[in-house]
Symmetry: C2
Subunit: 376 residues, 2 copies
């Protein structure tokens, strides 16, 4: 097991959470070949940093790649990778499962995370599944209603009063001291779990572009590493172009990228309906920035109005997603991609988790006696 | 295409919705063999009454079969068939997709359904996906919040004032006149779609018992027909015992079964937290009753308290389901099944759709400065 800091290059033989320089670490590239198997874990068995604890799997991964009409207007072939059908209805389950497999093997009795949404639910669910205690640190403003979908799994939900931004680093520090393994947004095992998205896409398609809603940068890094490993092992002929998509109201990575900055800076006064990607100071921001430049990839930000419109369009394809998941389709309009390009947009989480912010359709009323007229 | 009434035996060459005697019709048994393929539609290609319109598929079906600890206390091997990871997060999508494939092929421009929950969302979503208009008839008491998850897909949601029970039959009658194809709970194509659950289970396991939350009877009939077809085609050696599970507060089928009645009667004053299975006068009730007796199967009802407890237990397995979906696990305690029996319980729909009724876990509060103590 060897980890490396993608920024300063320092290597580690133990699975540390972050490099001494403050940046995230990541596992070196894996070598291997694919096998026949039911789950993505089995088919890409050589590519995981820890043996997946299949007896505790909930069937995460192996999500549908759905053909969409929404690319037609832009002359591209659009495919939607529907991560909303994971066990807790977001892509987080892939990373949570793999990181939890490590925590169990390493002998931890408790795990934790810092999140109020998809990741909180995912870690709470898998902790119970694995028989581990969970400490879910949520922001003071999280509503009781929203937290129900987290606490229901049995994890201990802790509302922390104070600077929520500091919690990410504070939790890693305290967790190490107290023997609580924190599986935060860019935990190195979590990142590895997201590679499965790239593997599954490559099994079905040779895409030209991948649109990735980007907040902390964990998902982006995982998908990137997946495609890079496929390429380095000779399993695909070229690496698709990855586009990080952010909400205009909280787009620290795009800002640094477009301004040619070396480091991502804290985004002041973040405000967007895409709550799931509203991290103003992304812990993997610099690592994503480096990938974007090294590979000549791109970063695009979209407004709340554009996100809302894309969310409604996706629903007419039969896919109800949370606002953050609609950013990829919203970005399509700004990218001017080449005619006929094959594009995959990743739908990260279910619209049911953000029902309050969902666009409502029209509801009409009709007396039973007049039903005939209402049905015409 | 040949349909038959399982009660009076009359046959039809056209896909009518119900028999002249008032009972549901069903397709005769299919003959065939399984193939290699990615989706259940392709692997069991011979077994569908209409060609599945795969270009409009959202990836419904092929859901995980999850091993559960919850059978340990009862000496059985329990598996959970997790239907909450379908595209609109319930089993309904399987039937909706197949019925919609027929509606499109038959030239209908509009489809409809009578439902306020899972089926409403499913039909609304797939109608938009297939490019058809949808008329979703909901009860007058349905909350705006709940209906958002239906109307968001673009289907026309119609709140009907009057006797909701009459709507099932009224909609079929008017739909036929007006060219709106109603895909209600036991539409014959819908039933066929549910066979996929039996097919997938048989691909992984030789179960002894299947626990099926039962309301209208559509799901039960579909799963039963799936296993019967597998058996008649020599693909399995024996048919598992199917157990219909109902909520005690609305258990018309169990009541008729236990009292030895020939027909299911309307259940008076229904009341249960398991809203998704609270049909007091199930349109496929008599057909289910006949199956139970013909095969020597069973019917069990469980109280709201038992349902709530099972819902919480399932969440500690990492699976957050709606109350109706927890009835199977609740029934386990009352069944006294033989030691070592292999039991599958079908988890029909996501807990996110009934978040208001979900059991809340504990939420504690902690100042950031005192986090160390809170994490101990």
């Amino acid at each position: 097991m060897k980890l490396r800091c993608p920024i300063c290059g320092k290597t580690y033989d133990e699975p540390v959470q972050r490099c001494e320089c403050g940046e995230p670490v990541e596992f070196e590239l894996f070598e291997g070949e694919p096998y026949i198997g039911k789950s993505v874990w089995e088919r890409f068995w050589d590519f995981w940093p820890v043996e997946p604890a299949l007896e505790f799997s909930l069937g995460e991964g192996d999500t549908p790649l759905v053909k969409s009409r929404l690319g037609d207007g832009f002359g591209v072939k659009l495919y939607l990778k529907n991560e909303t059908v994971n066990p807790t209805w977001s892509f987080k389950d892939r990373g949570t499962f793999l990181a939890m497999s490590y925590a169990l093997k390493a002998g931890y009795k408790a795990v934790g995370t810092v999140s109020t949404g998809n990741m909180a639910a995912s870690v709470s669910a898998y902790a119970s599944r694995f028989g581990l205690k969970a400490k879910i640190l949520v922001s003071e403003s999280a509503s009781d209603e929203k937290l129900k979908a987290v606490s229901v799994y049995g994890g201990e939900v802790i509302r922390v009063f104070g600077d929520y931004g500091r919690l990410y680093f504070e939790s890693l520090k305290l967790g190490e001291k107290l023997g609580v393994y924190f599986i935060n947004s860019d935990n190195p095992f979590r990142i590895e779990g997201y590679k499965g998205i790239a593997f599954e896409i490559a099994e079905e398609l040779t895409p030209d572009y991948i649109l990735i809603p980007t907040s902390s940068g964990g998902l982006f890094r995982g998908v990137a590493k997946g495609f890079i490993e496929l390429y380095e092992n000779g399993l695909i002929d070229s690496i698709p172009k990855l586009i990080a998509v952010q909400a205009k109201g909280c787009s620290p990575i795009c800002k640094a990228f477009l301004e040619g900055k070396e480091k991502v800076e804290r985004f002041e006064n973040p405000e967007t309906i895409a709550k799931a990607i509203a991290n103003p100071y992304p812990p993997s921001g610099n690592a994503v920035l480096r990938l974007l430049r090294e590979f000549g990839w791109g970063c695009v930000s979209v407004s709340d109005d554009e996100i809302r419109k894309a969310q409604t369009e996706l629903a007419t394809e039969g896919l109800f997603v949370q606002p953050a998941s609609a950013t990829g389709v919203a970005a399509l309009k700004k990218l001017n991609l080449p005619e006929g390009a094959k594009v995959v947009s990743i739908l990260t989480g279910s619209g049911l988790r953000a029902l309050k912010d969902a666009p409502a359709g029209k509801i009409t009323e009709c007396p039973l006696e007049g039903l005939k007229n209402c049905l015409r």
